[in-house]
């Protein structure tokens, strides 16, 4: 019987305390943070190295912003789930991210239980999409 594999997560946020928090959140959900990036460029490099299942991507980052990184990540992989993280969910940015291939968009100010549920729901929906081939 195949052993259940942990969901491998790449976390990209320029703020170390946010990375620490999100890492603890996804860790408590049984996921494994395989890499942490402080900007978009680093996220792309680490994506190539680690091939994660899920990328949690901040939008406002130095060197390369999250939307540019999102576009490049989606060009490299159709299978990876990408969730954008934002402090202020401006409607035009949310729509831009979803149009560029983000699976979902999460506000960082969500209560912990909601944050977990949203990540879980996004992952399950992504798996369903992959199975149905959409």
């Amino acid at each position: 019987m195949a052993e259940k594999r942990k969901v491998r997560v790449l976390l990209a946020d320029d703020e170390a305390h946010v990375r620490l928090f999100v890492k603890a959140v996804v860790g408590s959900m049984g996921c494994q943070v395989v890499a942490e990036a402080a900007d978009g460029k680093q996220a792309l490099e680490l994506f190539d190295k680690t091939q994660p299942d899920l990328v949690l991507l901040d939008i406002n980052m130095p060197v390369m912003d999250g939307i540019t990184a999102l576009t490049e990540l989606r060009r490299r992989s159709k299978k990876v789930a990408i969730v954008m993280l934002t402090s202020l969910a401006s409607a035009d940015v949310v729509e831009q991210c979803l149009a560029a291939g983000a699976n979902y968009h999460l506000r960082k100010d969500l209560p912990l239980n909601e944050l977990k549920q949203e990540i879980k729901d996004t992952w399950l929906a992504h798996m369903q999409d992959l199975r149905s081939g959409t």
């Binding site: 949310v94 979803l98 506000r107 969500l110 929906a125």
Partner: protein, 55 residues
Amino acid sequence: MIKYDLAKMLEEIRRDESGGKGTDQPKKVMTQEEIRALARNRRRKPAGDKPPEAK
């Protein structure tokens, strides 16, 4: 001595950057519920979908 009205200059710059439409319209900030609804809508109708071409 030339006096500059910095507030007025700033307003003009903002107007120019927004294509002359002014900047008084606040950007809409979405709640998580609104984002969820938008994402669900997109899942049902993927971005790549195009309406059938008229013959």
